[in-house]
Amino acid sequence: MSATVSVDHLLTTRSLTKNFRGFTAVRSVDLDIRRGGIHALVGPNGAGKTTLFNLLTGFLKPTSGSITFDGRDITGLQPEDIVHIGIARSFQITSLFDNMTALEHLQLALSSPTGVSLRFWRSERRLDRFRARSLELLDQVGMADLANREVGHYAYGQKRAVELALAVALDPKLLLLDEPTAGMSLEDVDRTIELVLRIATGRTVVFVDHNMRVVGELADRVTVLQQGEILVEGTYDEVRQDEKVITAYLGQAHA
């Protein structure tokens, strides 16, 4: 690697590796995420995509290698610290608080950097000052009408929309979306593509998805992972026509 870190890379990993008891889930990955772009990570199941996400967000500690974000070494930081530095994520499996309303979710996200949440002697009405912004964010994902309903009652697509709003509420520089369209109906997929494009303005997005239409419509860069290693990186069209990718996905016989 050259000594000068290119400024238009928001996130860089070098030789990033994660071993689980002898099994290498992520092997020596050098990833460069351009600032302002939408970057897709694709690859068959077990390629290490979610592990990579967990490494980038601090939920897993790398075995070796480094992660640099916005010129700062963030290797080994705790998830809650990484959020405040500017990386937010959504989860592959919808991960919400079923007994809370959507509004309460957004208030929780918006109050996170303010420190108001440590005030155990204050009324929860203190959170009302995040109400307007919460509703604005929910409106952005089309969920303002259901703001006062507990998310346990929501349909799947609605929960995914709240996930997106939550990630945006943290106002991250880098947004990591783990399979934002997994398990969705066709129309929900279209709506989500539109949503991601809308919330991507002014941010950098990295997402994982198995739906190649989603990848084609959203991503300006695509990285293909296989067995924990980077196989190919390029634009969607480059990657799609790459011999190695075709082999990896379809097997030797079709190549």
Partner: protein, 357 residues
């Protein structure tokens, strides 16, 4: 409610309905009234020292529920804070002769102080491991109390704890009047517990309870919040233990022993986990039951309380309070649905006919 012809849409939208909100407020005020009344007449109905016991255990159970019901942590070592405070309160009262609320404050501060290292080391664990670590620390406190004879009296306990209260002899000598002085302290503790649960901090606690990875991904330092909750809970347990000591006039070694930790969890579960007030019901049930059984000379109290515990866990998972709450909600919904049907009866029929054509 965009479609008034759908009565099934009523129950889940009740939270948005201003009429229902007013109904809930009324219900809360009625319950509060009943609670206050019950607390005020309690020493008229039962032997006042037993009534004071119920107060102390009620706050102790609330402190456990703050962790178990609202943070998702089962502490099996809360006797350390209740009993630790009991000893310190007793020692301060004996040696300094200060008014008892001051002695109790000292006990409370001690409980919170020991909760910092204990909590720091145990909140890193969860589930059964958390319970075991807290139990281990509580047993260390027990060991110290048992061995340090000069200070704690060992197995003889700490005898002759005076009730000093600004020279007001009614409180100092009459257990009936003392009850009301104790009630003030316990109510302060309960209001504090309620405030914590309904604060921005309490919101984060429930988030951590329901999904701690998600809470971290929203930028919350989960261990820090758990630790603060642990220390606050220990403070309330300490307040309760201090009141208990002054009420009894002595401290016995069993206050720091593990069955005490078990008993308070039992009360919390019987009353209803995550209900905050349920613990008071559980405390009343257990304290009264133990009092009745022991005065009748029955030896196997544990068999009876154990049986109640099993019944509650198997049949009423939400405890006495939670089950009553469920019942209320069901009746309220049924009434709301019926009222809605009556109101929209004609239009609903009309719609059905339209659909049929």
């Amino acid at each position: 409610m965009t479609n008034p012809t759908l009565p099934t849409a009523v129950p889940s939208d009740l939270s948005l309905d201003p009429v229902a909100a007013r109904g809930r407020l009324v219900r809360r005020l009625v319950l509060l009234g009943i609670g206050v009344l019950a607390a005020l007449v309690l020493p008229l109905v039962i032997y006042p020292p037993v009534a004071s016991d119920i107060l102390a255990w009620a706050l102790f159970a609330l402190s456990v529920d703050l962790l178990l019901g609202f943070t998702g942590l089962l502490s099996f070592g809360h006797a350390a804070f209740w009993g630790g405070s009991a000893y310190v309160t007793g020692i301060i009262a004996i040696r300094l002769g200060v008014p008892f609320p001051v002695a109790i404050l000292g006990g409370m501060i001690f409980a919170m102080a020991i909760a910092v290292p204990i909590g720091y080391l145990s909140v890193r664990r969860s589930g059964i491991y958390f319970a075991m670590v807290t139990l281990a620390f509580a047993q260390m406190i027990y060991f110290v109390a048992n061995q340090w004879l000069d200070v704690t009296g060992g197995e003889n306990g700490l005898q002759g704890v005076p009730v000093s209260f600004f020279g007001i002899s009614a409180v100092e000598t009459d257990s009936f009047t003392f009850y009301y002085a104790a009630l003030v302290l316990i109510v302060i503790g309960m209001v504090a517990g309620w405030r914590i649960v309904h604060s921005p901090f309490g919101r984060v606690l429930t988030a951590i309870r329901d999904n701690s990875a998600r809470a971290r991904a929203l930028g919350y330092d989960v261990e820090r919040y758990k630790l603060i909750a642990f220390v606050l809970s220990a403070g309330l347990a300490g307040l309760a233990g201090g009141v208990f000591t002054i009420s009894h006039g002595f401290v016995s070694l069993q206050e720091v022993d593990w069955p005490t930790s078990g008993k308070v969890v039992l009360m919390t579960v019987i009353g209803g986990i995550g209900t905050l007030w349920g613990g008071a019901i559980g405390a009343a049930v257990i304290v009264l039951l133990e009092d009745q059984l022991s005065s009748s000379g029955f030896e196997g109290t544990g068999i009876i309380t154990g049986a109640i515990f099993i019944i509650v866990v198997l049949l009423f998972r939400r405890g006495i309070w939670g089950t009553a709450q469920n019942g209320f909600d069901r009746i309220r919904r049924a009434l709301a649905v019926r009222a809605q049907r009556k109101r929209n009866g004609d239009s609903a029929v009309a719609t059905r006919i339209d659909d049929g054509s």
